[in-house]
């Protein structure tokens, strides 16, 4: 969930009233936001870097507010205030207008070289804007938050904003060899080639995260004005020439990306949020984008869409009984201008360009419910009549667990993921023999594979509890995973039961006795006839030679038991003899 931090006093000023922290927290909760933290710049720096560094920092109170991940319109102070004011019916939702310029329209021409790397671009102009320091900061921060969220760390969309008065259109969005791109980037004093920049930014804590997006491509995206001035090299950095300042009056905004829909949404959000400060409030100047196929489009889209939802559908989905008029009022409070039309049961809802999250009637139903107040909805029980059933494998597991404990064994709960070493090397096996599934992106060796046996987990549990009085008797009934090309995903879980006995003597007879008890519980008689069970001498690298037997039951091999090999004991950092038993309980269902 994205977190937006806003200055409290600025927020209250914009909301036209003050709140106590509790009152504001309550308002957030009701609206689906979360007042996550009340802090200040000073507090943040002091927490992260210590009191000394924080000495000169501002102690203006900051509210950190968690915003739902799909509400891009609430990612800045301007949007939050507008959303809350409309919710509280203090203002009407503004109408955003796209207008043609008096003079020539700004043009952005996309060349076909971009096709392989970052094919889409959209653009718009904010005319006669009036920034203050706070508004400017908010403008920069909104771009950053959009980059982090909907833009997927600039991979899907990257935003560039420029002082239009320093540039001269038409603009060209193209892709060039990195060595052929040379310009002075933001915050640098001289020109560099793109190759040099990529090297410099490898150590830049902020920018290094974006380099991978274009790093290994033969051509880098770049935008020029008609005089060959570089506006930006998306998604990495803008040019210094067209940088915006608090005093900038006319802003050219371009968004490039690999996802056209998201690029259009991002552009819509920026212009709807900040056109508030234009001379003609909530008015955005159009720009034309010419695609390589020659077709040209005008942006921003600022599309208003009409949806029709029946009032009784909303009532039925939420579980309330409101009149269509009231429902329309509720929706209007959620920034969705609505009115009752037709037979008096139809509600026509206008979806503004700020609400890209509304893609289905269910989104509208939710907003009606939020405005109604979740906690005002009458709780009722559905009449759904059903008979409960347990999943047979889990039912058997539950029954066995209790009797394993009754037999004196203590239940362990170990991880399903582990290292290759745990299931192979330490048990004297080659990893290829385990048929284990392998994880491609483990952060540490602990998560290399899914376990193929429960034994390592139990032995590690004993190793961590060596100080406990002997004997240690442990068991676990849980799933292991084996590759299996007969299943749709190519792997299958098996429910295993594993038990270990750890003491000064190997205690094979105890583990053997436990097997006899388990078979008694499962109603499997001894002997090979009538689906009974037997154990037959066997061997395995994990077991001491001559002290291992394979368990056959119901006509199939179900597992092994025996005294563990001293090498296995040592590799798990244990010192005492140990015997173990592991069976698959699936066949006993």
């Amino acid at each position: 969930m994205p977190t937006v931090s806003v200055k409290r006093d600025l927020l209250f000023q914009a909301l036209g009233r003050t709140y106590t922290d509790e009152e504001f927290d309550e308002l957030c909760f009701e609206f689906g936001l979360e007042l996550d933290e009340i802090t200040s710049e000073k507090e943040i720096i002091s927490k992260e870097q210590g009191n000394v560094k924080a000495a000169g920092a501002s102690d203006v109170v900051l509210y950190k507010i968690d915003v739902p991940a799909n509400r891009y319109d609430l990612l800045c102070l301007e949007g939050l205030v507008r959303g809350l004011q409309v919710f509280k019916e203090r203002i009407k939702a503004p109408v955003y207008k796209r207008v043609m310029p008096d003079g020539k329209i700004q043009k952005l021409i996309i060349t076909e070289e971009t096709a392989k790397i970052r094919p889409f671009a959209v653009a718009a102009v904010l005319r006669n804007i009036k920034f203050t320091k706070d508004r400017y900061d908010s403008f920069i921060e909104l771009q950053e938050r959009l980059h982090q969220n909907i833009c997927r760390k600039r991979a899907l969309v990257a935003i560039g904003t420029h002082d239009l008065d320093t540039l001269s259109g038409p603009f060209t969005y193209t892709a060039k060899r990195p060595s052929d791109i040379k310009f002075k980037p933001l915050n640098k004093t001289k020109e560099y080639t793109a190759c040099e920049l990529m090297n410099i930014y490898k150590t830049d804590n902020h920018l290094k995260h974006y380099l991978h997006i274009i790093e290994n491509k033969p051509l880098y995206p770049v935008i020029y004005d008609s005089n060959g001035v570089v506006l930006s090299m998306p998604p990495i950095i803008n040019g210094d020439h067209s940088r915006i300042t608090v005093n900038t009056r006319n802003i050219f905004i371009e968004c490039t990306g690999t996802d056209f829909t998201k690029a259009k949404i991002v552009l819509d959000i920026i212009v709807t949020m900040f056109s508030e400060y234009c001379e003609n409030q909530f008015t955005v100047e159009a720009a034309e984008v010419v695609f390589p196929n020659g077709k040209s489009y005008t942006f921003p889209e600022l599309a208003y869409r009409k949806e029709m939802v029946r009032a009784d559908l909303i009532n039925k989905k939420v579980g309330i009984r409101e009149t269509p008029e009231n429902l329309a009022k509720l929706l209007t409070r959620m920034y969705l201008k609505s009115e009752v039309i037709g037979d008096g049961n139809q509600i026509e809802i206008e979806i503004p360009p700020t609400r890209a999250d509304i893609i289905h009637a269910c989104d509208i139903v939710e907003d009606a419910a939020i405005a109604y107040g979740y906690n005002n909805i009458q709780m009722t029980l559905p009449k759904t009549y059903t008979i409960a059933n347990q999943f047979p494998l889990n039912k058997l597991t539950e029954l066995l667990r209790y009797d394993m404990a009754a037999a004196g064994f203590t239940e362990a709960l170990t991880f399903a993921l582990c290292s290759q070493e745990d299931i192979a090397d330490k048990l004297g096996l080659d990893i290829s023999a385990t048929k284990a599934v392998h994880i491609s992106n483990p952060k540490t060796a602990e998560f290399q594979v899914a376990r193929t046996t429960l034994l390592p987990g139990l032995l590690k549990t004993i190793a961590a509890n060596r100080k406990m009085p002997l004997p240690l008797k442990l068991f676990e009934i849980s799933d292991i995973v084996i590759k299996d090309s007969n299943t749709d995903v190519g792997a299958k879980n098996y429910r295993h039961l594993c038990a270990v006995y750890y003491n000064k003597n190997p205690g094979f007879e105890i583990i053997h006795g436990l097997l006899d008890r388990i078979m008694q519980l499962l109603d499997v008689p001894p002997g090979e006839d009538k689906g009974g069970y037997v154990i037959k001498a066997s061997e395995g690298p994990a077991f001491f030679p001559g002290r291992c037997a394979e368990i056959f039951a119901r006509g199939q091999s179900v597992g092994k038991l025996g005294v563990l090999h001293p090498d296995v004991i040592t590799k798990f950092e244990l010192t005492m003899p140990c015997s173990s038993l592991e069976i698959n309980i699936g066949p006993f269902l």
Binding site: T384, T386, A406, F415, I439
Partner: protein, 477 residues
Amino acid sequence: MEHQAVVGAVKSLQALGEVIEAELRSTKRWELTAEGEEIAREGSHEARVFRSIPPEGLAQSELMRLPSGKVGFSKAMSNKWIRVDKSAADGPRVFRVVDSMEDEVQRRLQLVQGGQAEKLGEKERSELRKRKLLAEVTLKTYWVSKGSAFSTSISKQETELSPEMISSGSWRDRPFKPYNFLAHGVLPDSGHLHPLLKVRSQFRQIFLEMGFTEMPTDNFIESSFWNFDALFQPQQHPARDQHDTFFLRDPAEALQLPMDYVQRVKRTHSQGGYGSQGYKYTWKLDEARKNLLRTHTTSASARALYRLAQKKPFTPVKYFSIDRVFRNETLDATHLAEFHQIEGVVADHGLTLGHLMGILREFFTKLGITQLRFKPAYNPYTEPSMEVFSYHQGLKKWVEVGNSGVFRPEMLLPMGLPENVSVIAWGLSLERPTMIKYGINNIRDLVGHKVNLQMVYDSPLCRLDAEPRPPPTQEAA
């Protein structure tokens, strides 16, 4: 008489029962050490040094040979009684500085010797103790009086009832040694169930009591399709990032997908349909085939709902599951790479948000949680969505206890479920309520091989609706 012999006699009389009453009293007093007694007699080392110096002085080397020389010299120096002249012809020479002095140390020790230790200040006493001249000794005494069963003759008490006593009836005239009911009993030898799984059993029980059927969840490996795409979670969603999800190297891809259904899912994502605008992006089959360790059990719910949709006519269901899920997350005191997810699902005609809240109220009441509040939230596959908060008495604030919502039509309709069927669902982790229940602050103390088995041995029954133990000192967030 020897002190220890008296103590022994008192103790064995006490063991006979109420023959005597003996009250233990201990007193402390100050005594001189052997060195202290010598000083009380002969004077302190420094005084002895002072006295041994004649008016014409004494060679320092000679002085040092005296029995009190070393200790006495430095003390006398710091008392400024004597001085050293280092310029003397035959080596350093020690002279008196004052004509006479008061031997305070001797005087104080004599006071103690005379039983007047209390006349000394705490500081003075501790100074003398540091010089090992004084020691504090504790003296144990008994005040002995007649007990309720006082007798001048004693007979040995029996410790335990024996079969012979029962058959002969001799138990009637024998005194029995009383039991010490303050001692602990001997714990029975037994096995123990793991506390987290005891809580799991209780959650299963609650669902079964509410008529919910358990879904199969015995597949840790899942395709991205069932884990994400089927839930209408777009392919660029951050949860599908390498940083959040464990993907598989082998087997890297799902071998089979229900292709008809896949086509409907693809269309809904990329173009919309079923009343939806869709996400309008290029949906890729390769992305859907990628195998992973399931990040939620909702993938199993999706499979169960898909199977349900294939059965005609539709019959209402209530489903639940509790099983492991995996996240490639940063680990901390409350987050591990694997944890258990609890999930409940109800599918029926005409279910409302009010129904969801009603079921949640019943469910949480069974957990002993009665104060609930619902907050609007965003989940990719439910709309409306609500987070469930409960008031935590210990922490004195509302804490999130679960997440819930109504599955999106874009998820249900491509499966083939009828349009007027709604599916409500909720989920929570098993670990969090368990940590709160057992007052555990670090998740590693609860799951995994590093847990202390003593904790497993000692854990009480899991009774979710009973009064919780006092809250942990730190929030188990």
